[in-house]
Amino acid sequence: MDQILVGLEQILQLQNILLMIVGLIVGIVIGAIPGLNVPLAVALALPFTFSLPPLAGISMLIGIYKGGTYGGSISAILLNVPGTPAAAATAIDGNALARQGKAGKALKLSIYASVFGELVSDIVLIVAAAQVSRFALKFGPPEFFALGLFALTIIGLISGTGLVRGIIAGALGFLLSMVGIDPVEGGARMTFDIYELSGGLKFIALIIGAFAISEALVQVEKSARPGTKLKVLEISPHKADNNVSKAEFMQVLPAMLRGTPLGVAIGAIPGLGSSIAAFLSYGLAKKLSKTPEEFGKGSLEGVAAAESANNAVTGSTLIPLLTLGIPGDVITAIMLGALTVHGIVPGPTLFQQQGDFVSALFICMLIVTFLHFFVAMLGLPLFIRAVRIPRGILFPLVIVLCVTGAFVATSSIFDTMVMLGFGVLGYLMVKFGFPIAPMLIGFILGPLVEMSLRQSLIISGNSLDIFFTRPVSATLLTLTLIIIITVGWQRFKELKQNEN
């Protein structure tokens, strides 16, 4: 109780509230603009948080995360172009409603469903996180090694465009994390006699380069093609088309009640993410609906199911991050970087050592959810305009902010050049079908996996038995093996089918 009161005192400061609102607005606007996405928004905002107190910086990032996850639905509904991949399921019925002149209704319903999903997800985070962290306190190096390997395997295998590409991307991130000083023996490793590399490759350079610069390069390609202009649908002047009635809300409530727990569960598992949650929820809603024939033609249930599940991921993804120090997706990986920069190390001991911060963070999640509702409702006309910003103004500014952010964060022209290098690498990965997320997660988890492996072997006198005689590590390693075999077998069958 004392911790809650201290947390309330810490979070309820004007600066924090204003930063939450700024974060929400930035997140919604960036989420709404096709071509920009939430990881890009969080990556761009990261350098700005360095000079802020930890809680203030994280408040802004949470605002961007929640706002951006919702913001994708605006362009999905108005343009049929999902601002974020997770909003693709919303576009199916949201845009159909907009074409019927009911864009206002679809946009408002997406706000209700998003906020509902977020609120439930926040509550689950608050209730579950402490329990998980108590269990995780018993973890030693073998358990952390097994856990890191398990998370890395799931993210490499499930996300992205193929098994082999996912593994390569994850391994590449792991390899990049090993540049610099060896954490055990202290010798230089893979620095190629470049002095600036002895401190290792900078996380911020990787994030900004791989997510923001690569997207800017993908977008500049479009300038070389004769493009088609996106048509933004207008909002109807009729009140009935712009509001969700009580009867309509009650009709979609079951879809939201099913989609939300689905999103919460998927968010807590590393590597799955909001797109999967949205599509699974949409599919489930269609299957159980009394009017499945309306799906695809402007079903309110379809919008509610997709949006509630999509946003229900935002709270639960923080469970593995805060309790185990394992980021479940790209955004939480960036948040891990932000926390680490401020000297806050997520993991089982966080709840014991910095309970006040955790309480404040939980309260912050709830406040951002409530603010989300009001900011989204009041700012809707402004956010609709955001989708019309010309690419020829937007991306030059994005590039300038990337360079400035990287320069400010690293204070080094060399690291800013490295950031551009990561941008080119990210662009090539996109062009050649490699997922970027596993590379980032590999970069983050690499040091954890390496340190815990080497510590375990020192403890056991170089015996691998230590990983198989402890129940948690043995279970996690077995699960990792089962997942590799199952996914590998499925892909092998797919290849065989394609050949036939």
Binding site: A224, L397, L420, N462
Partner: protein, 155 residues
């Protein structure tokens, strides 16, 4: 329009890089003790894993040309040119930042990039290029207490 099989190309390039790394890593890792795991062990293991996966990619590209993962990359020379120019502009921007100063360099880079991104509305471009650099510089100076380079060229 050039078409390349992305499995064969990416697999080939990665395999080549892995071979270089496997040769280079032993000389690039300093070690002081010989007990437990060597600092070179994991970099070698991970590089070997990437090499094996690259071989899988090449085999996939050769054997299964029709599946989705082997879809060729279609790239026009104009597209490659735009991307190359954009990279060049960014490198020059970072390179001259300390010398020319943030405001002048950013003004120039916004104009060039806006044209590269297809914007031909000069009024819009000039207003953005004149307003954004000082706004960003003042934001960093007064809210984050960070000084962006003022340049030495005009001193």
């Amino acid at each position: 329009m050039r078409e390349i099989n992305k499995n064969i190309w990416s697999g080939g390039v990665l395999l080549g890089l892995c071979v270089v790394l496997i040769i280079q890593i032993p000389g690039q890792v300093g070690t002081t003790t010989d007990d437990s795991l060597s600092p070179a062990f994991l970099p070698m293991l991970v590089t070997a894993l990437i090499a094996v996966m690259s071989v899988f990619l090449i085999v996939q590209g050769v054997l299964t040309k029709d599946i989705a993962t082997a879809t060729p990359v279609k790239q026009t020379f104009a597209e490659i040119g735009y991307v190359g120019l954009c990279i060049l502009v960014m490198i020059i921007y970072v390179g001259i930042l300390k010398w020319v100063g943030f405001i002048v360099a950013t003004f120039a880079v916004i104009v060039v990039l806006a044209l590269l991104y297809g914007n031909r509305n000069w009024l819009q471009i000039l207003i953005t290029a004149m307003v954004a650099p000082p706004a960003i510089m003042l934001f960093f100076r007064y809210t984050m207490l960070v000084l962006l380079p003022e340049g030495t060229l005009f001193n």
